[in-house]
């Protein structure tokens, strides 16, 4: 089972990785966007982590809802509403849960991916973060109770890589047409970090706990 504590650690770990990769994300966004993706996400997750101690959540649903609201009001840009929507959908799927089974978590991921698609109106293959969210969520749902975190991470990395060779149809990179080909999508990369943080958190705790 996935615990409330693990969800908190996930946020801390995400912030840590994003902080570490901030400049890299900036460079990716400079290549095909406006150079603020790393800055935006670090600003948001810094606030998320800061709030963790301030407002302790009774359950996973509340925690993720707080995360969503913080991201919505701190990130801005395209990624703010998208990540905000993703966490809001997860929070609804995991409402009042103090722990979640892998199946439950997989369903939450699926809701999140749908939320991103609804909010951003992108299709898989448009060279956006959806290109990672959607296949990862599909895999998790398919594996269900036999969910392998290693597979999930693998899937996330592979699909992040697929964004490199595509021209973008949504987001700022779309303005570049063919000039975007050859560059990873920054939102796909940050999504991959989110899943890295998740897998690192869950597997570490499994090992030690």
């Amino acid at each position: 089972m996935i615990t409330l504590k693990q969800m908190e650690t996930w946020m801390i770990e995400t912030h840590r990785i994003l902080q570490e990769k901030k400049d890299y994300l900036t460079q990716l966004d400079q290549a095909i966007g406006d150079g603020d993706h790393g800055i935006n996400l670090v600003r948001g997750f810094k606030e998320v982590v800061g709030n963790l101690s301030a407002q302790s959540s009774p359950d996973i649903g509340t925690l993720l809802r707080n995360v969503a609201m913080t991201l919505l009001s701190k990130v801005g840009g395209a990624s703010g509403p998208l990540y905000g929507t993703a966490f809001l959908k997860m929070s609804t799927a995991l409402k009042e849960k103090v722990e979640a089974s892998p199946e439950e978590f997989a369903r939450a991921l699926a809701e999140a991916a749908d939320g991103i698609q609804m909010r951003g109106k992108a299709q898989v293959g448009d060279k956006t973060m959806l290109d990672v969210w959607k296949p990862v969520a599909d895999l998790a749902v398919k594996q269900g109770s036999r969910l392998s975190w290693k597979d999930l991470l693998e899937c996330s990395r592979q699909h992040m890589e697929t964004t490199r060779d595509r021209a973008a149809k949504k987001g700022r990179a779309a303005y570049l047409g063919e000039r975007a080909v050859g560059h990873l999508d920054p939102g796909a990369v940050s999504t991959c970090y989110l899943f890295e943080a998740l897998v690192k958190t869950l597997t570490r705790e499994e090992a030690t706990g």
Binding site: I32, L72, V75, G171
Partner: protein, 332 residues
Amino acid sequence: MKKLINSPEQVVRDMLDGMVAAHPHLLKNLPGTQVIVRADAPVSGKVGLVSGGGSGHEPAHAGYVGKGMLDAAVAGEVFTSPTPDQVLEAIKAVDSGNGVLLIIKNYTGDVMNFEMAAELAEAEGIRVAKVVVNDDVAVENSTYTTGRRGIAGTVFVHKIAGALASRGASLEEVEAVADKVIRQVRSMGMALTPCIVPAAGTPGFQLGEDEMEIGLGIHGEPGVYRSKLLTAEETARTLLVRILEDLPLSSGERVAVMVNGLGATPQMELYIVNKTVSELLEERGIAVHKTFVGPYMTSLEMAGCSITLLKLDEELTDLLDAPARTAAWNND
């Protein structure tokens, strides 16, 4: 990075403070927010106009807040759309019961954040309408993609919708005229140098001494293609021809022209560009009603310009000429 700033984290806050300090009779800052509203907001009996977006486009958008133009401008971080809660505060501050029009530049982030704010405002019982400006002809106008960006043409939407709103028109009427401007306005830009997002500290792209970027937006991003350095005349021609392909104008039709500086290009060079713009329009028999030359919608300290044409009819001409008094637009 050489900038007159105090710290990269503080630029938006300091800029808004300095702006309100400069124009206390025109503007006020909603406490605890990055929202600038008219000193006399909400104006009773009037549809409220809210625009905004990332910062770094000064004088847009707060420079267009005032009598005859916007009621509020929401400033995001540099090149980053403002968040829904901030937009919501702006909407609430300017609604006098006659509804609020959101003027949004077409960027995924702006559209999503303003839409979410509109949903929240409607949930609180405020009538909200939205228009999305997409004047940049550099990119494909496709419904399958993000579509075109909103750039300097947005200022004409502010001016004209603002003029109609100040005459007491309804939300539907103001929305309709804004939509009309959007259908009739086209722009395209170019850059000689990149710009530096303060928090990033490095330029968004690199350009050689003999290169320029053509067809770029206002967020420091690269353009649609890179070109050898062109003269002012070649540059003006390149941009104008592309605009006229998209907005066919017959001899005898009237336009308003904007030659917009991106931040580091001085007035001298903008006027040199305008020389060619005016000659090319005259050659085609297109009448220029008014020309606006200056930094209206910038991209930090980027060197470059954009050209905007707005096709005028009687209604738009009248509203464009109507009085306005804001920090960056003043006509009587």
